[in-house]
Symmetry: C2
Subunit: 228 residues, 2 copies
Amino acid sequence: MERFAVIGLGRFGSRLAELLSMGGAEVLAVDKERPLVEEVRDRVTLAICMDSTDEEAIRAQGIDKVDAAIVGIGDNFEAAVLTTVILKQLEVPRIIVRATTDVRAAILRRIGADDIVNPENESAERWQSKLAAPGLIDRRELAEGFSQVQIAAPESFVGKTLEQLELRKKYRVNITAIKRQTEETGSKGAKKTRDTFLSVPMPDVVIQSGDVLFIMGADDAIAALPAE
Amino acid sequence: MERFAVIGLGRFGSRLAELLSMGGAEVLAVDKERPLVEEVRDRVTLAICMDSTDEEAIRAQGIDKVDAAIVGIGDNFEAAVLTTVILKQLEVPRIIVRATTDVRAAILRRIGADDIVNPENESAERWQSKLAAPGLIDRRELAEGFSQVQIAAPESFVGKTLEQLELRKKYRVNITAIKRQTEETGSKGAKKTRDTFLSVPMPDVVIQSGDVLFIMGADDAIAALPAE
Ligand SMILES: Nc1ncnc2c1ncn2[C@@H]1O[C@H](COP(=O)(O)OP(=O)(O)OP(=O)(O)O)[C@@H](O)[C@H]1O
Ligand SMILES: Nc1ncnc2c1ncn2[C@@H]1O[C@H](COP(=O)(O)OP(=O)(O)OP(=O)(O)O)[C@@H](O)[C@H]1O
């Protein structure tokens, strides 16, 4: 049975505590503000009002006896740092810490954070990718310089088979899936559309107008794909 | 040349404004707090201190003459609602609005938001997936009940070829890529590891211990994969 400590019950922390609990894990939720602690009390295993920079209190409440601790403190950087140092010294196996800037992220990693989370940054980056390249519906970086993207099928691809397009040979990318909207006529004659996924599509699949192509490859290879 | 309005320069809005600008777009950045406006002035096309619920000011500054507007206001829900209604009436082609709860998201969609962003929620959900299933390194929901996941290759898969595993037939999932750590010996004999991606891997690829498998399929099919 997985056991987690979530320290800092802002929007990120309280949502994470609740989701982990719903997923069946044991969750110790901590905040120094009593109303926030009361707010989550019914949705977690144990809700504790305390200052996470108080090492005595951390030990007394067993906050360190968990598989992973997530520090969701946002603005109060010193509290996030001190909490991380304490958890590291108490040998918590995995410490995930929120950082609000890249400099803070670098510091937190050096003092023991195994993973960094920066919700506002992550959403800003995802939205910049979506907006910057209009045919680009989504982009997920998988590794340095290597991504999976969702793009609207360029017009020049429509009507061709994957084999004819020779994506791997010509563009050095791979299609991992195609999302296609199919129209169905319901029992009362009502038309409704729904998405079908063809994952790892066959070479004889023909690209249709409106298809969304899931493509994986190096970022420069993706950038070289035709826009239309 | 793409042109955007970013209204609300908290951590999300200011980061997005900066990234869009760096990507070459024209960015109008708006906030009612002067220090935040000054803070981004050098990094965007135009930084304007104004109240986004003031329709006169929106028109006067041409905030509505953009390809898309992103409302990054967090706590002040009424301001987010009124700003969205104004932008909708001024026919901004795409309006992306931040919501801090699901109820607010539903309201914003009804009054004209085309897209919703909730950074804290999105990160909390991503981290819950990562933590809840220890073999699960990452999960991205592609559509209702259909995801792409990254999982550590189960021990029972190691040494077998993709063809032998018959994933599509046995488990109704597809492998879209394999991330493998390869060790290289540098010029001075120093060992360093780096990631290699095999995307849309061939049927004769043999799974190695430590491989990360990118798998696409229905959520229940993914949940049925062996843990080891
Ligand atoms: N030393 C501490 N011990 C316990 N809780 C703390 C401590 N310092 C800060 N917190 C709590 O951390 C929570 C989150 O921090 P903060 O409000 O700064 O982040 P936020 O960026 O507004 O959060 P979100 O964006 O998730 O809503 C707050 O509820 C705060 O009370
Ligand atoms: N009517 C308004 N007109 C212009 N700006 C506004 C208005 N209302 C709020 N803002 C600005 O929106 C910005 C972001 O809102 P807020 O601080 O509530 O969000 P936040 O959740 O703290 O942001 P983040 O998590 O991105 O740091 C603030 O800088 C605030 O000044």
